[in-house]
C-alpha cells in the first residue's frame, strides 16, 4: 500500500476504532471530554521536578487503554509523527539547567535532565489521553458533547466538515496520483514539472467535490447543524466516573502518592 492510501485508511481506522464497543466507548462523550480535559490540566500543572508525582499519572491511560481494548501500541504507532516533536521540546533543558539534583553512584543528575524527562512525560501523557478520547468517541458524538458545553454550532460543524474534508482530499489525491502513475510508468513520484498543475487540479477538484457533497447534504435536510449521533442524557454512572476521575487527578496532583506509598513500605 502506498503512503496515500495508508493515510486514508488510517483515518478511517480511527473511525472504526471509535465505533467499537467497550465500557469506555459506552461512557457518555461529555464525561470523557471533561475527564480528558481535567487529566491534561492536572498533568501539565505538575512542577517541573516532580518526576515521581507525574509518574503516577500514567495509571489513567494505562488502565483505560486496557478497558477500551485498544493496544497502547496502536496509540504510539498512530502518533509516531508527533511524538518525536513533543519529545524534542525538552531537549535543551539539560544544557540550560545544570543544578545537581540527584546522585546515582557516579552519575550526577541535573535539574535540566529531570525537567526534560517530566516535560516529555507531560507531552506523551497528554497525547495518550487525547488519543484515547478520539479512539473511543466518534467525531459526531464528540461534537455533540461540545454542543452540550455550548460551544457554538459553527465551530462544531466546522470541525466535522474539516474532518470529512480531509478524507475527500486524500481520496482525490489518491485518484489523481493513480491516474498519473498509470500514464507515467517507471517514474518515481510526480515529476516537478507537473506539480503546479497537479496542485491546482487538486484544489479545484477537492473544492468541487466538497461543494457537491455539501449540496447533497443540503438536499437531505442539512441546515447548518448536524443532528449528531443521538446523545442520551448522562447516566449517574457517567457522573460518578467523571467526579471520581477528577478527584483522583486532584489527589494525585496534591498528595505525593508515590512517596506516601514508599514511606508505608520503607517505614
Amino acid at each position: 500500500m502506498d503512503k496515500l492510501s495508508q493515510a486514508q485508511s488510517e483515518l478511517r481506522e480511527m473511525d472504526a476504532l471509535a465505533a467499537e464497543d467497550s465500557p469506555v466507548h459506552r461512557l457518555h462523550p461529555l464525561c470523557k471530554l471533561l475527564v480528558t480535559v481535567c487529566y491534561i490540566a492536572a498533568v501539565v500543572s505538575f512542577p517541573k521536578y516532580d518526576f515521581t508525582g507525574l509518574a503516577v499519572m500514567v495509571l489513567y491511560p494505562a488502565v483505560l487503554f486496557q478497558a477500551a481494548g485498544i493496544p497502547v501500541r496502536t496509540c504510539f504507532y498512530k502518533l509516531r509523527i508527533v511524538l518525536p516533536l513533543v519529545c524534542a521540546v525538552g531537549l535543551v533543558n539539560p544544557f540550560l539547567d545544570r543544578t545537581p539534583m540527584l546522585q546515582l553512584g557516579m552519575v550526577t543528575i541535573t535539574g535540566g535532565v529531570i525537567s526534560m524527562v517530566t516535560l516529555m512525560m507531560k507531552g506523551v501523557f497528554s497525547l495518550m489521553a487525547s488519543f484515547l478520547l478520539i479512539a473511543t468517541t466518534t467525531i459526531d458524538s464528540l461534537c455533540a458533547a461540545l454542543r452540550k458545553l455550548h460551544v457554538p454550532s459553527i465551530l462544531t460543524t466546522l470541525l466535522l466538515l474539516t474532518y470529512r474534508y480531509i478524507g475527500v482530499m486524500l481520496e482525490e489525491v489518491t485518484i489523481m496520483t493513480e491516474a498519473y502513475k498509470l500514464r507515467a510508468p517507471g517514474q518515481k513520484g510526480i515529476h516537478i514539472s507537473a506539480w503546479g498543475s497537479f496542485l491546482g487540479q487538486l484544489l479545484l477538484r477537492s473544492m468541487d467535490r466538497a461543494q457537491e457533497l455539501f449540496g447533497s447534504m443540503l438536499l437531505r435536510g442539512f441546515q447548518g447543524e448536524f443532528f449528531y449521533a443521538d446523545v442520551p442524557p448522562c447516566k449517574p454512572s457517567g457522573i460518578v466516573y467523571t467526579i471520581a476521575c477528577a478527584g483522583a487527578f486532584l489527589l494525585a496532583r496534591l498528595v505525593p502518592i508515590a512517596s506516601v506509598l514508599g514511606g508505608l513500605f520503607v517505614g
Partner: protein
C-alpha cells in the same frame, strides 16, 4: 394535479452558452417521466434547477411552491435526488449513517428511521451493506446504497440521474422493480432506454437544452429516426435482433 412546472426557464453556466433554453413543461403528481438526450443535452442541469442547486431565469414551481429562497427548504424536503456520481452522494462513514442522515435531519424519530432503513435495505436486497464503510464498497454497491439513502427519506418525488449505470443485471432489475412499485412522482434521466421503457409512461427528449419530443414513452422510444437524429438508438428490446 401538477407536481412540477417549468415555465420559460433558461439557464447558462458561467461560460455563457445557454444550457437550458426557454424550457416549459409540467409533470403531474404520480407520473413517472423519463428524461433522455445525448451527453450534454442538459438532463442533469434540469434536475439541479429543480432542486435550486443552480438558478436560472423563468419560473419553476414544485408542488405549487414557486422556487425561491424561502421555499427552498420545503421544496428540497419534497424531493429525493439520486446524483449521477454516487461518490458525491455518500459522505458519512458507513452506509447506515448515510441512510439515517436525511430522515434524522427532517426530525423523523430514531425508531421510525431504523424501520425505514431496514425496509429499504430489504427491498433492495442490500442488508449485507448496512454497516459497511462507504469507501470500502464497490462502485455498483455504492450506487445501490445511494439509491437506498434516498428511498429512506420517503420523499414525495424522486429524481434519479442515471440510476442504472454501474449496476449488474440483477441490481438493475431490482432498481427497475423498485421504481415501478413506488407510488411517488419520478423523473428519471438515463441513457438506458430499456430501463426508461420499463419504468416510464412518458418521455421527454432533450437536445441542446430544448424539448424535441414529449409524449408517450413507447411511441417516442419506437421512433428510430427521431432517436437516431438525437444520438440515440432504439432500446435493445425493440431492435428485434436475433
Amino acid at each position: 394535479m401538477t407536481m412540477i412546472e417549468f415555465r420559460n426557464v433558461s439557464f447558462s453556466y458561467d461560460s455563457g452558452n445557454p444550457v437550458v433554453a426557454d424550457l416549459s413543461f409540467s409533470i403531474g403528481r404520480g407520473e413517472t417521466v423519463g428524461l433522455i438526450g445525448a451527453n450534454g443535452a442538459g438532463k442533469s442541469t434540469i434536475m439541479k434547477l429543480l432542486l435550486g442547486l443552480v438558478t436560472g431565469e423563468g419560473e419553476i414551481t414544485v408542488d405549487g411552491l414557486p422556487m425561491n429562497r424561502q421555499n427552498l427548504p420545503a421544496i428540497r424536503q419534497r424531493i429525493g435526488f439520486v446524483l449521477q456520481d454516487s461518490d458525491n452522494q455518500m459522505f458519512m462513514p458507513t452506509v447506515y449513517e448515510d441512510m439515517i442522515f436525511g430522515p434524522r435531519n427532517y426530525g423523523v424519530s430514531k425508531e421510525e428511521t431504523d424501520r425505514r432503513v431496514d425496509d429499504v435495505l430489504k427491498c433492495l436486497g442490500l442488508q449485507e451493506l448496512k454497516h459497511r464503510y462507504n469507501h470500502k464498497i464497490s462502485g455498483g454497491e455504492k450506487r445501490m446504497a445511494a439509491i437506498a439513502t434516498i428511498l429512506a427519506m420517503e420523499p414525495e418525488m424522486i429524481l434519479m440521474d442515471e440510476p442504472s449505470t454501474a449496476l449488474d443485471p440483477v441490481n438493475r432489475r431490482t432498481v427497475i422493480n423498485t421504481v415501478n412499485r413506488l407510488p411517488q412522482t419520478k423523473l428519471i434521466a438515463s441513457h438506458d432506454l430499456d430501463m426508461i421503457l420499463d419504468t416510464c409512461q412518458r418521455v421527454i427528449l432533450l437536445a441542446g437544452g430544448a424539448i424535441v419530443a414529449d409524449g408517450d414513452a413507447e411511441t417516442i422510444l419506437r421512433d428510430r429516426e427521431l432517436l437516431e437524429a438525437n444520438r440515440m438508438e432504439l432500446p435493445f428490446c425493440l431492435q428485434g435482433r436475433r
